[in-house]
Symmetry: C2
């Protein structure tokens, strides 16, 4: 029945809906050449006589032929799509990442698969499997989940997919596994130097989660930099969000303790976008004045940062640049594992 219908559509040459897609065979027939010739003009790999070339082009246009990337990918073994696996789509930083990757990839005629691990290991696993089934050219991964499924990633890399970790170091040694990220220690150092220059010395740090390597490096960075200036940021001043959805209650405890001890916290540094939001909320809830009571340095810029009650000073990572380099790596297919470390920036606003 199905084929009968298709034949009818073909026969009538109608533009009715549901019509069969033209195949390379249709083009060849219309142009009076072989499918091989059509394939040749499509790929431009071998030379075809100008005459046939023209016939083929015309047939392609006439039929509005668009070759299937799926079938194509069967041969090379890989499609020209790139996967992007992020932990949490709500984070504006990931949005910039997407923009960068998407822009480079589509520039090269590819398409990007977007998936969110949603901080769920099971989901992450099934998404990785689905992506593997797509025989993608590369995968950019920022999943905050730890530990990442190394086996699955290794398999992807084994099968020829370039894997680029972004905002985190390479998690497994493999010639096709790379990393592009901001220098996280420098992030902390930058925050410290700025706070120091503003005359602050008693810093509390709010991190998103203690087990995140990047988060740890950022807090290590600020402590190390402070120590160079002979200032100590005690371990207890570093708190972690108890929930991504709630204000930073850990920070409250630190501030109250500091107050009680007669040595009030005069600066707060948040090490992630979410930590920034939650710490800011907590300070607001506590009725603490920024920057009078405490100076506040956040992480990751976002469109409304300049329009808050107190516009925010933030350490920034060059998201677009990171994304662009990651995508470029996938396209370039380097022989060996590469790691790129980018410098952070600082956007100063009224909160410090």
């Amino acid at each position: 029945m199905q084929s009968r219908q298709q034949l009818d559509a073909l026969a009538s040459g109608s533009s009715a809906s549901g019509r069969r897609r033209p195949t390379i065979g249709d083009v060849a027939r219309l142009a009076g050449v072989s499918t091989a010739t059509v394939s040749r003009v499509l790929s431009g790999t071998a030379k075809v006589s100008p005459a046939k070339q023209a016939q083929v082009m015309q047939a392609i246009k006439k039929l509005d032929y668009n070759p299937s990337d799926l079938t194509r990918a069967i041969f090379t073994g890989r499609s020209n799509s790139v996967g992007l696996l992020v932990a949490d789509l709500r984070n504006p930083y990931y949005v910039d990442l997407m923009r960068g990757v998407e822009s480079v990839v589509t520039e090269h005629g590819g398409l990007v698969f977007l998936a969110s691990a949603a901080r769920d290991p099971d989901r992450e696993a099934s998404v990785l499997r689905a992506m593997d089934a797509q025989r993608m050219r590369g995968l950019v991964i920022t999943s905050g989940h730890d530990p990442i499924d190394h086996a699955a990633l290794g398999r992807l890399a084994d099968h020829g997919t370039q894997v680029v970790f972004v905002t985190r170091p390479v998690a497994l040694p493999h010639p096709r596994v790379h990393s592009v990220r901001v220098d996280d220690e420098a992030v902390g150092a930058l925050a410290w130097q700025h706070l120091r220059d503003r005359g602050r010395s008693n810093v509390a740090v709010v991190t998103q989660s203690a087990w995140s390597l990047t988060q740890r490096e950022r807090s290590r960075g600020i402590r190390t930099a402070a120590r160079i200036d002979h200032v100590d940021i005690p371990e207890e001043h570093i708190t972690e969000l108890s929930s991504l959805e709630e204000p930073a209650d850990g920070l409250r405890a630190v501030i109250e303790a500091g107050r009680d001890a007669g040595r009030p916290i005069d600066a707060v540094f948040a090490t992630s976008g979410i930590a920034t939001l939650r710490a800011y909320q907590e300070l607001a809830d506590m009725g603490i004045s920024i920057p009078d009571d405490v100076a506040f340095v956040g992480f990751d810029d976002f469109p409304w940062a300049a329009h808050l009650k107190t516009p925010l000073t933030v350490v920034t990572q060059p998201a677009l640049e990171i994304a662009t380099q990651a995508a470029q790596l996938i396209i370039d297919e380097p022989e060996a594992s590469v790691t790129r470390m980018l410098a952070p920036g600082l956007t100063v606003r009224a909160s410090t």
Copy 2:
């Protein structure tokens, strides 16, 4: 050379990198069955003896075999991926849209292609072509660009791809082209009723672009609703952003004119997320106090809205719900074109 290498890898049975992917043939050989049988246990369509079933499963696990979705899609003619074409990734609303679509699609074992038209018709065209080449199951499209490339979309739909317009009406009649959106007239009405209840009557409207149908409906909505209350919102009070990057200078003109005429603007309604940001900026730049001088109603909620200098009242669209319904439509493959119209919401904050 290439094949030589592959043979070596095979022969040595090594787990070295770059090894050839196992195919269904490998699995069949190892399990001592035909490829057809393997295919059967994979799809579960026909019954296979428990014994062979077990052998196959074991071989699959042993080889870590993951069938290619690309090759699979060749048969059915369509992959199970869904495309998502958005106008501008910076808009938080699109982010929620993505989350919703991604969640439903991956739930069903599919993957979503994300692409941004970046408000560039050429890009839009090439992205649509690339997506068509992927033989996607469906496409969710929110591109603000107008007019959309109907020919390309029609071709997609003709070839069996479900096309769902989101945040805009169906742009072409086709049984496989649908629409899920917020009731834009109701958006305007909601804004009016709220402003009226706050005692405001001289409203200025800031739209993102006059040629956008949804924008027009929102401003029409507020005018119509006001008229019912015997209040006129003159045509001149409706301005359009001259640039997406700059504050809303058109609004400034309207406000100054109102002031000069002795009938000052006492309320502003912005009809899009970007319009909201730019109008808010302009008001701040003019030193106008919200809500004392003018009450402000924006459109689309975003994470920081509650933490601005003046927390914002916004009319909201149920982004996740819209996305979910759109994705579900693609999975359900309705026989005929469907249009879903969802009710907007209102989040009241200090700006009104």
